[in-house]
């Protein structure tokens, strides 16, 4: 089952994509981690790469950063090879774990990154400020909490002033407060028009922060669209309206709803194209008090990523 809804491709499509994955396959021995992913991401999009553990998210991120080479297919970032884009500072990343030395201070770690990217002294304080860790600059990295270390990785990622920021499960192991602060910082930063791709298995994060959600399962894209579209595609939405004297079969035929349920004066219509259902009800019948509700992303996620009988066939 592959569901596709690329939002606004026609409207803005002409610009060079920030990310262009074409038929990308990555195998580790007998294991296929990524199994033919094609994906274009436009500059300025905030995209969530969502999927269960082992779906191939991290492998995809590694290939975007030039840390792994695809077995087949091509990966381009701003029209360049990933590692070239990284070296030029077009892309940077906040990785899930590791990547820090305990015996550096927070400030020294950022300073070293600045030195490597050939950025001036002033960039150090600025990055620390924007990541919200200017107050712990003198602290040893080994003494920082998980959330502070993550914001340090964020500060390092900000230093080259990248066009594209990639976050791999950025809030794993953070408490609720830390997660909130971290996303606050990212959100503020993204307002400047930076392209952001984040891999996550926290559905609420994808729902709350992404313009576009790409569901990955078993190394393939199973759905792609806005959080709302994906929810609708995956599970449909329900239209409820007050319509006395409704006839079930009649309404089913006219609206194309998948299921129709009548409880007293209320009708419940479940379907993918709820806009059409609502339009019909309001234009052609005496329906009132109309409501459209969707299942949450969690349910969509379960529907899309479950190893259902259908995929076994």
């Amino acid at each position: 089952m592959t569901l596709t809804a690329s939002p606004g491709t026609a409207a803005r499509g002409a610009a060079e994509p920030a990310v262009d994955l074409d038929g990308v396959v990555k195998r580790f021995g007998a294991v296929t981690a990524v199994d033919g992913i094609s994906l274009k991401i436009r500059p300025g999009e905030v995209v969530a790469l969502l999927g269960p553990n082992g779906a191939g998210k991290t492998t995809t991120v590694d290939m975007l950063l030039g840390l792994a080479a695809p077995t087949a297919g091509s990966v381009q970032v701003y029209g360049r090879k990933p590692h070239d884009a990284v070296a030029l500072g077009l892309v940077s990343a906040v990785m899930q774990t590791g990547g820090l030395l305990k015996d550096y201070t927070v400030e020294e770690t950022v300073r070293l990154t600045a030195v490597l990217f050939g950025k001036p002294e002033s960039a150090v304080g600025e990055a620390l400020d924007r990541a919200g860790i200017a107050d712990i600059g003198k602290r040893m990295v080994g003494k920082c909490s998980g959330g502070q270390q993550q914001r340090l990785r964020f500060a390092m990622a900000l230093l080259p002033d990248p066009e594209l920021l990639i976050l791999d499960e950025p809030t794993t192991g953070m408490d609720v407060g830390g997660r909130h602060d971290f996303w606050q910082a990212i959100r503020q930063d993204a307002q400047g028009g930076r392209t952001v791709i984040f891999a996550t298995h926290y559905l609420e994060e994808a729902d709350a922060y992404a313009d576009r959600v790409v569901f990955v399962r078993r190394g393939r894209i199973v759905a792609d669209g806005t959080a709302a579209e994906v929810k609708a595609l995956a599970s449909g939405r329900t239209v409820r309206a007050t319509l006395p004297g409704a006839v079930e079969a009649d309404i089913r035929d006219k609206t194309g709803a998948e299921t129709v349920e009548i409880r007293g004066d209320s009708v419940y219509l479940h379907g993918r194209d709820t806009d059409a259902i609502a339009r019909y009800l309001l234009n052609e019948t005496a329906a009132r008090d109309l409501e459209i509700t969707s299942r949450n992303l969690e349910e969509a996620f379960l529907t899309l990523t479950a190893d259902d009988a259908e995929s076994a066939k």
Partner: protein, 258 residues
């Protein structure tokens, strides 16, 4: 709509003095490194080299205290350069090497930084031992003070390569806990702690093929003018090649994998 900032790559693959400065500060923060590379050789020298008989007995143009001082400086330099090279092991274990791959720093520039660092602390270690020596009765001809120190330092490049090789070979967080004893054994076999003629004939012959022997002989040569110079040079060159090839081999594997 994409307005790209003018972007360029840093010069020299990212090799900068700024990085060396920061890395040096970090190394000096590690108490174990400081004790092993700067304090231990000087302490060994004071323990074994400053008794009355060593001060009075002559060795070449100086005294035995001076001879032992040079040996201990070599030991210090090899400890320092090995631990400098072996830093890569800790950095790989911590995922720092991977993080560095997200910067313009070229792997070759990274190795160059590590080598420079290793040689800097190697130099400091030699200077410390020589300073302690000059204050504790070591006697060398004037030219030998300079020549012995330079040779002890330059030849320690063998062990910078050794450290790098081991750093890439052993993905351990505390690689120096393994290498410390290994270096002590090598130093003993190479005649740094006791002259080779105190060994049996067979052992003395084997010892001449171990990597510390050449460095020790060369470093003491300006003082002793003793032994086969070319054999010592051959030993140093051969081991430098072996360790460098080993380091390159592991290094290539490491960068190809990712």
């Amino acid at each position: 709509m994409t307005v790209l900032v003018q972007r360029s790559l840093p010069r020299f693959g990212g090799f900068t003095f700024g990085m060396i400065k920061l890395e040096l500060r970090r190394m000096m923060r590690n108490k174990r490194t400081v004790i092993f590379t700067l304090v231990l050789p000087a302490v060994f020298f004071l323990l074994f080299g400053t008794n009355a008989s060593a001060k009075h007995e002559t060795a070449g143009g100086g005294n035995v205290t001076g001879y032992i001082m040079v040996s201990m400086a070599v030991y210090g330099a090899m400890l320092a350069t090995t631990s400098g090279g072996a830093m890569v092991s800790i950095e790989r274990a911590a995922g720092w090497s991977r993080q560095l791959r997200l910067t313009p720093l070229k792997p070759v520039a990274y190795i160059a930084v590590k080598l420079v660092l290793a040689m800097i602390i190697g130099a400091v270690s030699v200077v410390v031992t020589f300073a302690v020596g000059s204050a504790s009765g070591a006697k060398l001809p004037v030219h030998a003070w300079i020549e012995c120190a330079l040779l002890a330092w330059v030849c320690a490049l063998v062990f910078a390569a050794f450290g790098l090789f081991m750093g890439y070979l052993l993905p351990s967080e505390n690689v120096m806990q393994i290498l410390g004893p290994v270096l002590a054994v090598l130093a003993f076999a190479g005649g740094l702690f006791a002259p080779l003629d105190t060994f049996g004939h067979t052992f003395a012959t084997i010892a001449k093929f171990t990597p510390v022997y050449g460095v020790g002989q060369l470093a003491r040569y300006p003082l002793t003018h003793d032994g086969n110079l070319w054999l010592a040079v051959l030993n140093v060159v051969a081991w430098t090649l072996i360790f460098s090839i080993g380091a390159m081999w592991r290094f290539r594997r490491d960068t190809a994998r990712v």
